[in-house]
Amino acid sequence: FMQRGLDSQTKKQLEEEEKKIISEEHWYLDVPDLKEKESCIIEERSFLRCEDLVYGRMSFKGFNPEIEKLMIRMNSKCKEEEIEDDDKMEADVSDEEMARRYETLVGTIGKKFLRKRDQRVLKDDDEDDEAEEGNSNTRPSKRAKKMFLKPQD
Protein backbone atom coordinates (compact mmCIF):
# COMPACT_ATOMS: atom_id res chain seq x y z
CA PHE A 1 0.00 0.00 0.00
CA MET A 2 2.96 2.32 0.17
CA GLN A 3 2.77 4.19 -3.08
CA ARG A 4 4.91 7.04 -4.18
CA GLY A 5 3.25 10.29 -4.70
CA LEU A 6 0.22 9.44 -2.69
CA ASP A 7 -1.65 12.52 -1.63
CA SER A 8 -1.67 13.38 2.06
CA GLN A 9 -5.44 13.29 2.02
CA THR A 10 -5.65 9.82 0.59
CA LYS A 11 -3.00 8.75 3.08
CA LYS A 12 -5.12 10.00 5.94
CA GLN A 13 -8.16 8.23 4.60
CA LEU A 14 -6.25 5.00 4.36
CA GLU A 15 -4.99 5.33 7.93
CA GLU A 16 -8.46 5.99 9.24
CA GLU A 17 -9.79 2.95 7.48
CA GLU A 18 -7.02 0.81 8.88
CA LYS A 19 -7.73 2.05 12.40
CA LYS A 20 -11.40 1.25 12.01
CA ILE A 21 -10.67 -2.24 10.91
CA ILE A 22 -8.26 -2.80 13.75
CA SER A 23 -10.53 -1.42 16.44
CA GLU A 24 -13.42 -3.55 15.31
CA GLU A 25 -11.28 -6.63 15.48
CA HIS A 26 -10.03 -5.89 18.99
CA TRP A 27 -11.76 -7.75 21.74
CA TYR A 28 -12.69 -5.99 24.87
CA LEU A 29 -14.25 -7.07 28.05
CA ASP A 30 -17.77 -6.03 28.63
CA VAL A 31 -17.33 -6.53 32.33
CA PRO A 32 -17.10 -3.57 34.71
CA ASP A 33 -13.60 -2.95 35.99
CA LEU A 34 -12.74 -4.99 39.02
CA LYS A 35 -11.58 -2.94 41.93
CA GLU A 36 -8.17 -4.16 43.01
CA LYS A 37 -8.50 -5.18 46.59
CA GLU A 38 -5.71 -4.20 48.84
CA SER A 39 -4.64 -7.41 50.48
CA CYS A 40 -3.61 -7.39 54.08
CA ILE A 41 -1.80 -10.70 53.93
CA ILE A 42 1.70 -11.18 52.57
CA GLU A 43 2.85 -14.66 51.70
CA GLU A 44 6.37 -15.49 52.73
CA ARG A 45 8.31 -18.69 52.26
CA SER A 46 11.35 -17.82 54.29
CA PHE A 47 11.74 -18.54 57.97
CA LEU A 48 14.15 -15.66 58.28
CA ARG A 49 11.40 -13.05 58.18
CA CYS A 50 9.18 -14.90 60.64
CA GLU A 51 11.60 -15.91 63.35
CA ASP A 52 14.41 -13.90 64.77
CA LEU A 53 17.40 -16.00 63.72
CA VAL A 54 21.00 -15.12 64.42
CA TYR A 55 23.73 -15.06 61.82
CA GLY A 56 24.90 -18.47 60.65
CA ARG A 57 28.65 -18.03 61.05
CA MET A 58 29.94 -18.31 64.61
CA SER A 59 33.21 -18.65 66.42
CA PHE A 60 33.85 -19.29 70.10
CA LYS A 61 36.71 -18.75 72.53
CA GLY A 62 38.72 -16.74 70.08
CA PHE A 63 39.14 -19.41 67.43
CA ASN A 64 38.54 -16.93 64.62
CA PRO A 65 38.64 -13.30 65.84
CA GLU A 66 37.25 -11.84 62.64
CA ILE A 67 34.16 -14.00 62.84
CA GLU A 68 33.70 -13.03 66.48
CA LYS A 69 33.75 -9.37 65.56
CA LEU A 70 31.30 -10.11 62.78
CA MET A 71 28.99 -11.90 65.21
CA ILE A 72 28.83 -8.87 67.46
CA ARG A 73 28.18 -6.59 64.52
CA MET A 74 25.49 -8.69 62.87
CA ASN A 75 23.63 -9.58 66.03
CA SER A 76 23.62 -6.09 67.41
CA LYS A 77 22.28 -4.81 64.10
CA CYS A 78 19.23 -6.97 64.56
CA LYS A 79 18.57 -6.01 68.14
CA GLU A 80 19.46 -2.35 68.41
CA GLU A 81 19.21 0.37 65.85
CA GLU A 82 22.47 1.20 64.23
CA ILE A 83 24.36 3.59 66.41
CA GLU A 84 27.64 4.57 64.88
CA ASP A 85 30.24 4.40 67.61
CA ASP A 86 33.05 5.97 65.71
CA ASP A 87 34.55 7.51 68.80
CA LYS A 88 34.83 4.24 70.59
CA MET A 89 36.45 2.35 67.77
CA GLU A 90 39.71 0.69 68.66
CA ALA A 91 42.49 2.93 67.50
CA ASP A 92 45.87 1.59 66.52
CA VAL A 93 47.62 4.46 68.27
CA SER A 94 46.41 5.54 71.69
CA ASP A 95 45.53 9.12 72.45
CA GLU A 96 48.54 9.64 74.70
CA GLU A 97 50.96 8.54 72.06
CA MET A 98 49.36 10.89 69.58
CA ALA A 99 49.73 13.79 71.95
CA ARG A 100 53.38 13.01 72.56
CA ARG A 101 54.14 12.69 68.88
CA TYR A 102 52.44 15.92 68.07
CA GLU A 103 54.42 17.84 70.64
CA THR A 104 57.69 16.98 69.01
CA LEU A 105 56.33 17.02 65.50
CA VAL A 106 55.07 20.56 65.62
CA GLY A 107 58.44 21.78 66.83
CA THR A 108 60.49 20.04 64.17
CA ILE A 109 58.33 21.04 61.26
CA GLY A 110 58.00 24.57 62.56
CA LYS A 111 61.75 24.98 62.63
CA LYS A 112 61.97 24.20 58.96
CA PHE A 113 60.12 27.33 58.01
CA LEU A 114 62.09 29.79 60.12
CA ARG A 115 64.62 32.09 58.59
CA LYS A 116 68.24 31.43 59.25
CA ARG A 117 68.68 33.98 62.01
CA ASP A 118 65.69 32.74 63.87
CA GLN A 119 66.95 29.24 63.53
CA ARG A 120 70.17 30.14 65.28
CA VAL A 121 68.20 31.78 68.07
CA LEU A 122 66.16 28.67 68.48
CA LYS A 123 69.18 26.47 68.53
CA ASP A 124 70.86 28.57 71.22
CA ASP A 125 67.71 28.62 73.24
CA ASP A 126 67.56 24.87 73.12
CA GLU A 127 71.11 24.51 74.08
CA ASP A 128 70.66 26.96 76.86
CA ASP A 129 67.78 24.99 78.20
CA GLU A 130 69.58 21.73 77.98
CA ALA A 131 73.04 22.80 79.06
CA GLU A 132 73.88 22.95 82.70
CA GLU A 133 74.76 26.05 84.49
CA GLY A 134 78.44 25.32 84.16
CA ASN A 135 78.44 26.97 80.82
CA SER A 136 77.85 30.42 82.12
CA ASN A 137 81.09 31.61 80.67
CA THR A 138 80.12 30.77 77.17
CA ARG A 139 76.74 32.37 77.42
CA PRO A 140 77.79 36.01 77.69
CA SER A 141 80.34 35.53 74.95
CA LYS A 142 77.70 34.09 72.65
CA ARG A 143 75.36 36.85 73.48
CA ALA A 144 78.09 39.34 72.87
CA LYS A 145 78.67 37.83 69.45
CA LYS A 146 75.11 38.39 68.47
CA MET A 147 75.21 42.05 69.16
CA PHE A 148 76.79 44.32 66.66
CA LEU A 149 80.40 44.92 67.58
CA LYS A 150 81.59 48.26 66.68
CA PRO A 151 84.84 47.85 64.89
CA GLN A 152 87.65 49.26 66.91
CA ASP A 153 89.43 52.02 65.35
Partner: protein, 251 residues
Protein backbone atom coordinates in the same frame (compact mmCIF):
# COMPACT_ATOMS: atom_id res chain seq x y z
CA UNK B 1 -12.44 -23.62 60.06
CA UNK B 2 -11.28 -22.56 63.46
CA UNK B 3 -9.85 -19.27 64.63
CA UNK B 4 -6.11 -18.95 64.11
CA UNK B 5 -5.42 -17.65 67.58
CA UNK B 6 -6.95 -20.70 69.21
CA UNK B 7 -4.54 -23.08 67.50
CA UNK B 8 -1.27 -21.30 68.19
CA UNK B 9 1.19 -23.80 69.61
CA UNK B 10 -0.88 -26.80 68.57
CA UNK B 11 -0.50 -29.35 65.83
CA UNK B 12 -2.15 -28.44 62.55
CA UNK B 13 -2.61 -30.70 59.55
CA UNK B 14 -2.73 -29.86 55.84
CA UNK B 15 -6.23 -28.86 54.85
CA UNK B 16 -7.11 -27.03 58.05
CA UNK B 17 -8.60 -23.64 57.45
CA UNK B 18 -7.62 -20.94 59.90
CA UNK B 19 -9.93 -17.99 60.27
CA UNK B 20 -8.42 -14.64 60.91
CA UNK B 21 -9.93 -11.79 62.92
CA UNK B 22 -12.35 -9.58 61.04
CA UNK B 23 -9.96 -6.75 60.29
CA UNK B 24 -8.02 -8.90 57.86
CA UNK B 25 -11.04 -9.86 55.90
CA UNK B 26 -10.78 -8.46 52.40
CA UNK B 27 -14.51 -8.48 51.80
CA UNK B 28 -15.34 -6.58 54.92
CA UNK B 29 -13.57 -3.39 53.92
CA UNK B 30 -16.45 -1.21 54.90
CA UNK B 31 -16.54 -2.69 58.36
CA UNK B 32 -12.98 -1.71 59.09
CA UNK B 33 -13.99 1.81 59.87
CA UNK B 34 -16.38 0.64 62.52
CA UNK B 35 -13.73 -1.24 64.45
CA UNK B 36 -11.90 0.81 66.98
CA UNK B 37 -8.50 2.01 65.96
CA UNK B 38 -6.81 0.10 68.77
CA UNK B 39 -7.62 -3.36 67.48
CA UNK B 40 -6.59 -2.95 63.88
CA UNK B 41 -2.89 -3.68 63.44
CA UNK B 42 -0.66 -1.29 61.62
CA UNK B 43 1.19 -3.59 59.29
CA UNK B 44 0.12 -6.45 57.12
CA UNK B 45 -0.12 -10.00 58.30
CA UNK B 46 2.77 -12.21 57.33
CA UNK B 47 1.71 -15.64 56.13
CA UNK B 48 4.80 -17.76 56.59
CA UNK B 49 5.98 -21.13 55.34
CA UNK B 50 3.39 -23.88 55.58
CA UNK B 51 0.45 -21.53 55.10
CA UNK B 52 -1.37 -20.21 52.06
CA UNK B 53 -3.84 -17.41 51.67
CA UNK B 54 -7.29 -18.62 50.77
CA UNK B 55 -10.28 -16.36 50.79
CA UNK B 56 -11.22 -15.52 54.31
CA UNK B 57 -8.36 -17.18 56.05
CA UNK B 58 -5.20 -19.22 55.83
CA UNK B 59 -4.97 -22.73 54.54
CA UNK B 60 -2.44 -25.05 56.14
CA UNK B 61 -0.23 -26.93 53.69
CA UNK B 62 2.28 -28.61 56.01
CA UNK B 63 1.82 -30.50 59.23
CA UNK B 64 3.48 -29.09 62.30
CA UNK B 65 3.02 -26.65 65.16
CA UNK B 66 1.39 -23.31 64.46
CA UNK B 67 3.48 -20.37 65.63
CA UNK B 68 2.52 -16.76 66.00
CA UNK B 69 4.47 -13.57 66.38
CA UNK B 70 2.40 -10.54 67.33
CA UNK B 71 5.06 -7.91 66.61
CA UNK B 72 5.30 -5.98 63.36
CA UNK B 73 1.78 -6.57 62.10
CA UNK B 74 1.68 -10.18 63.19
CA UNK B 75 2.94 -13.34 61.56
CA UNK B 76 1.71 -16.91 61.47
CA UNK B 77 3.74 -19.87 60.31
CA UNK B 78 3.96 -23.62 60.69
CA UNK B 79 7.00 -25.04 62.44
CA UNK B 80 7.49 -28.24 60.49
CA UNK B 81 10.28 -30.75 60.27
CA UNK B 82 11.88 -31.89 57.06
CA UNK B 83 15.23 -33.02 55.76
CA UNK B 84 15.00 -31.94 52.16
CA UNK B 85 15.80 -28.32 51.50
CA UNK B 86 13.90 -26.13 49.05
CA UNK B 87 15.80 -22.99 48.03
CA UNK B 88 14.26 -19.80 49.36
CA UNK B 89 15.31 -16.26 48.53
CA UNK B 90 17.40 -14.65 51.23
CA UNK B 91 18.49 -17.85 52.94
CA UNK B 92 22.16 -18.28 53.83
CA UNK B 93 23.37 -21.74 52.79
CA UNK B 94 26.55 -23.77 52.47
CA UNK B 95 27.15 -24.95 48.93
CA UNK B 96 29.72 -27.35 47.47
CA UNK B 97 31.29 -26.33 44.15
CA UNK B 98 30.70 -29.11 41.65
CA UNK B 99 31.69 -27.50 38.37
CA UNK B 100 33.12 -24.38 36.81
CA UNK B 101 31.30 -23.40 33.65
CA UNK B 102 32.96 -20.37 32.14
CA UNK B 103 32.11 -17.41 34.35
CA UNK B 104 29.77 -19.24 36.62
CA UNK B 105 30.21 -21.86 39.32
CA UNK B 106 27.71 -24.64 39.86
CA UNK B 107 27.02 -25.32 43.52
CA UNK B 108 25.25 -28.22 45.10
CA UNK B 109 22.97 -26.85 47.83
CA UNK B 110 20.91 -29.94 48.52
CA UNK B 111 17.94 -28.82 46.44
CA UNK B 112 16.51 -30.23 43.25
CA UNK B 113 18.83 -28.18 41.04
CA UNK B 114 22.38 -26.97 41.36
CA UNK B 115 22.60 -23.26 42.09
CA UNK B 116 24.69 -20.90 40.02
CA UNK B 117 27.19 -18.43 41.44
CA UNK B 118 28.87 -15.82 39.29
CA UNK B 119 32.55 -15.16 39.88
CA UNK B 120 31.80 -11.43 40.17
CA UNK B 121 29.56 -11.98 43.17
CA UNK B 122 32.44 -11.91 45.64
CA UNK B 123 33.73 -8.91 47.51
CA UNK B 124 36.45 -7.14 45.57
CA UNK B 125 36.11 -9.33 42.49
CA UNK B 126 36.64 -7.85 39.07
CA UNK B 127 37.09 -9.36 35.66
CA UNK B 128 40.82 -9.42 36.15
CA UNK B 129 40.82 -10.20 39.86
CA UNK B 130 38.99 -13.52 39.98
CA UNK B 131 38.30 -15.35 43.22
CA UNK B 132 40.30 -18.51 43.78
CA UNK B 133 37.53 -21.09 43.82
CA UNK B 134 38.21 -24.73 43.00
CA UNK B 135 35.90 -27.68 42.51
CA UNK B 136 35.12 -29.16 45.90
CA UNK B 137 35.36 -25.89 47.85
CA UNK B 138 32.73 -24.90 50.38
CA UNK B 139 30.96 -21.59 49.87
CA UNK B 140 28.71 -19.72 52.31
CA UNK B 141 26.33 -17.48 50.42
CA UNK B 142 22.74 -16.34 50.10
CA UNK B 143 20.10 -16.78 47.42
CA UNK B 144 19.03 -13.86 45.27
CA UNK B 145 16.78 -15.85 42.98
CA UNK B 146 14.97 -18.91 44.25
CA UNK B 147 11.61 -19.91 42.89
CA UNK B 148 10.14 -23.00 41.36
CA UNK B 149 10.38 -21.70 37.81
CA UNK B 150 14.01 -20.70 37.63
CA UNK B 151 17.38 -22.07 38.49
CA UNK B 152 18.47 -20.76 41.91
CA UNK B 153 21.20 -18.14 41.93
CA UNK B 154 23.52 -17.32 44.80
CA UNK B 155 25.81 -14.47 45.69
CA UNK B 156 28.48 -13.99 48.32
CA UNK B 157 27.97 -10.28 48.92
CA UNK B 158 25.12 -8.42 50.55
CA UNK B 159 23.17 -5.48 49.19
CA UNK B 160 25.88 -2.98 50.09
CA UNK B 161 28.59 -4.93 48.31
CA UNK B 162 30.31 -6.24 51.45
CA UNK B 163 30.96 -9.88 52.06
CA UNK B 164 29.94 -9.79 55.77
CA UNK B 165 31.14 -13.30 56.47
CA UNK B 166 30.11 -14.92 53.20
CA UNK B 167 32.46 -16.43 50.69
CA UNK B 168 34.80 -19.41 50.59
CA UNK B 169 34.96 -21.35 53.84
CA UNK B 170 38.53 -22.15 54.75
CA UNK B 171 40.57 -25.27 54.92
CA UNK B 172 40.04 -28.26 57.22
CA UNK B 173 36.93 -28.67 59.26
CA UNK B 174 34.10 -31.15 58.88
CA UNK B 175 30.84 -30.83 56.95
CA UNK B 176 27.77 -32.85 57.86
CA UNK B 177 24.03 -32.75 57.34
CA UNK B 178 21.20 -32.46 59.87
CA UNK B 179 17.49 -31.84 59.58
CA UNK B 180 16.20 -28.36 58.87
CA UNK B 181 14.32 -28.12 62.15
CA UNK B 182 17.52 -28.58 64.15
CA UNK B 183 19.20 -25.79 62.22
CA UNK B 184 16.44 -23.40 63.11
CA UNK B 185 16.65 -24.47 66.72
CA UNK B 186 20.38 -23.83 66.73
CA UNK B 187 19.95 -20.45 65.09
CA UNK B 188 17.41 -19.27 67.62
CA UNK B 189 18.72 -16.43 69.77
CA UNK B 190 20.18 -17.72 73.05
CA UNK B 191 20.24 -21.34 71.99
CA UNK B 192 21.21 -23.52 74.94
CA UNK B 193 23.02 -26.10 72.84
CA UNK B 194 25.31 -23.51 71.33
CA UNK B 195 25.91 -21.83 74.66
CA UNK B 196 26.85 -25.11 76.33
CA UNK B 197 29.11 -26.14 73.48
CA UNK B 198 30.87 -22.81 73.48
CA UNK B 199 32.06 -23.50 77.02
CA UNK B 200 33.86 -26.66 75.95
CA UNK B 201 36.57 -25.83 73.44
CA UNK B 202 37.36 -23.00 71.06
CA UNK B 203 35.83 -23.81 67.71
CA UNK B 204 34.28 -22.31 64.63
CA UNK B 205 30.84 -23.12 63.29
CA UNK B 206 28.97 -22.31 60.09
CA UNK B 207 25.27 -23.17 59.87
CA UNK B 208 23.56 -23.31 56.51
CA UNK B 209 19.79 -23.18 56.23
CA UNK B 210 19.97 -26.14 53.87
CA UNK B 211 20.75 -28.45 56.76
CA UNK B 212 24.53 -28.39 56.40
CA UNK B 213 26.86 -27.61 59.28
CA UNK B 214 30.60 -27.06 59.07
CA UNK B 215 32.71 -27.36 62.22
CA UNK B 216 36.37 -26.70 62.80
CA UNK B 217 38.25 -27.10 66.06
CA UNK B 218 41.91 -27.32 66.96
CA UNK B 219 42.23 -31.08 66.85
CA UNK B 220 40.41 -33.74 64.86
CA UNK B 221 39.14 -35.34 68.05
CA UNK B 222 37.54 -32.13 69.31
CA UNK B 223 35.94 -31.57 65.93
CA UNK B 224 34.42 -35.03 65.91
CA UNK B 225 33.11 -34.64 69.44
CA UNK B 226 31.28 -31.46 68.48
CA UNK B 227 29.91 -33.12 65.36
CA UNK B 228 28.57 -36.06 67.34
CA UNK B 229 26.90 -33.83 69.90
CA UNK B 230 25.22 -31.73 67.26
CA UNK B 231 23.96 -34.76 65.40
CA UNK B 232 22.67 -36.38 68.57
CA UNK B 233 21.03 -33.17 69.80
CA UNK B 234 18.10 -33.86 67.56
CA UNK B 235 16.93 -36.77 69.68
CA UNK B 236 18.42 -36.05 73.09
CA UNK B 237 16.55 -34.27 75.82
CA UNK B 238 18.14 -31.33 77.55
CA UNK B 239 19.17 -33.41 80.54
CA UNK B 240 20.80 -36.13 78.48
CA UNK B 241 22.73 -33.49 76.64
CA UNK B 242 23.93 -31.87 79.85
CA UNK B 243 25.06 -35.24 81.15
CA UNK B 244 27.00 -35.94 78.00
CA UNK B 245 28.68 -32.54 78.11
CA UNK B 246 29.51 -32.92 81.77
CA UNK B 247 31.25 -36.20 81.02
CA UNK B 248 33.24 -34.57 78.26
CA UNK B 249 34.37 -31.57 80.18
CA UNK B 250 35.30 -33.86 83.06
CA UNK B 251 37.64 -36.04 81.02
Amino acid sequence: GTAAEALVGQVVLPGDLLLLPAHYDEDAEGERLRLSAGTAPQGRLLCGPGLRRSGAGLLVTKCGLLRHRPAGGGAYWVDSQQKRYVPVKGDHVIGIVTAKAGDVFRLDVGGSEPASLSYLAFEGATKRNRPNVQVGDLIYGQFVVANKDMEPEMVCIDSSGKSSGMGIIGQDGFLFKVSLGLIRKLLAPKCEIIQELSQLYPFELVLGMNGRIWVKAKTVQQTLIIVNILEACEYMTAEQRKQALAKLSGT
